[in-house]
Symmetry: C2
Subunit: 194 residues, 2 copies
Amino acid sequence: MYKLYDFLPSGNSYKVRLLLTQLQIPFTRIEVNILNNESRTPEFLAKNPNGKIPVLEISPHQYLAESNAILFYLSQNTSYFPDNHFEQAQVMQWLFFEQYSHEPNIATSRYWISILGKEREYKQALEQKQVLGYAALNVMENHLKKQDFFVGKTYTIADIALYAYTHVAEEGGFNLTKFPAIQAWLKRNEIFLD
Amino acid sequence: MYKLYDFLPSGNSYKVRLLLTQLQIPFTRIEVNILNNESRTPEFLAKNPNGKIPVLEISPHQYLAESNAILFYLSQNTSYFPDNHFEQAQVMQWLFFEQYSHEPNIATSRYWISILGKEREYKQALEQKQVLGYAALNVMENHLKKQDFFVGKTYTIADIALYAYTHVAEEGGFNLTKFPAIQAWLKRNEIFLD
């Protein structure tokens, strides 16, 4: 059985739990409290030398890190990853957008404000993250005005990856009321949560 | 024929040019000078709403953004992407490592120092990027002590993605003399450059 080393408040961990649950794949969850530096112990670094959760233990001593690489791995040959070659690449495009333009701004703001409770301490850095985070939300909004899901006509791991931190963006100080297409897409995602 | 919208000094663009050249795929290059905001014009934003280079035009009105998604697309069914399912996911793991832990520190430092020439202006931010950039180099060094290439036993797009900014890391103020395994790997990569 898969073992998932993760941290409950992490959106990156949430992505993997969501897909495993949707695919009805059983797994054991092992909590790694990153606030206590539990992802920096020698034992954990042997699993992921980059010291980050989530990590999927596929079999003993076979580990996979990076949430979006785990989504890629688990979704192969399922409806969550397209068959079409160009659409597969479009999924990857949105996964890299998520990790480069979305997560470092929206997730990091949420981490500082709602998980660490240090909004004042990070005031200046948060201002820049607001600008870049809203820019990412605008890219999503304009795309979702034209289509129901990020790639093709169906729900894929691109939606899962972007849903994770977007649906809690308000915990990072982002106001979604000006993004009707994102809000409608969030609702469409909820259908898949049950 | 493919059209590549790119900017010569960009390592993200370099990755794509390198793979296209290695695969002997002809392409037309269109220079987009990001220093003149040419990636923010309405014409360019119609190609990539996220306003970043490189962008691959696969056919008229069919665009793919995000350098590592382009590498994924071009490498399918070639020796640069493994056949094995787990090794494919490991390639993805290193591509996400590159975009999250490596590029934002090493490439951004190089951009500020060597492309913008604003080392003094960014002094404080550069200090943090040095710490995180060296942490990424340490992860690479420890991995390359054990194997010749990042995934499996052969050269893949994981090596191309990480080569792009590592081989010019000194332009970002990173000293590679303490990383012998990285240096040996850089030399192994050069074999594929001709």
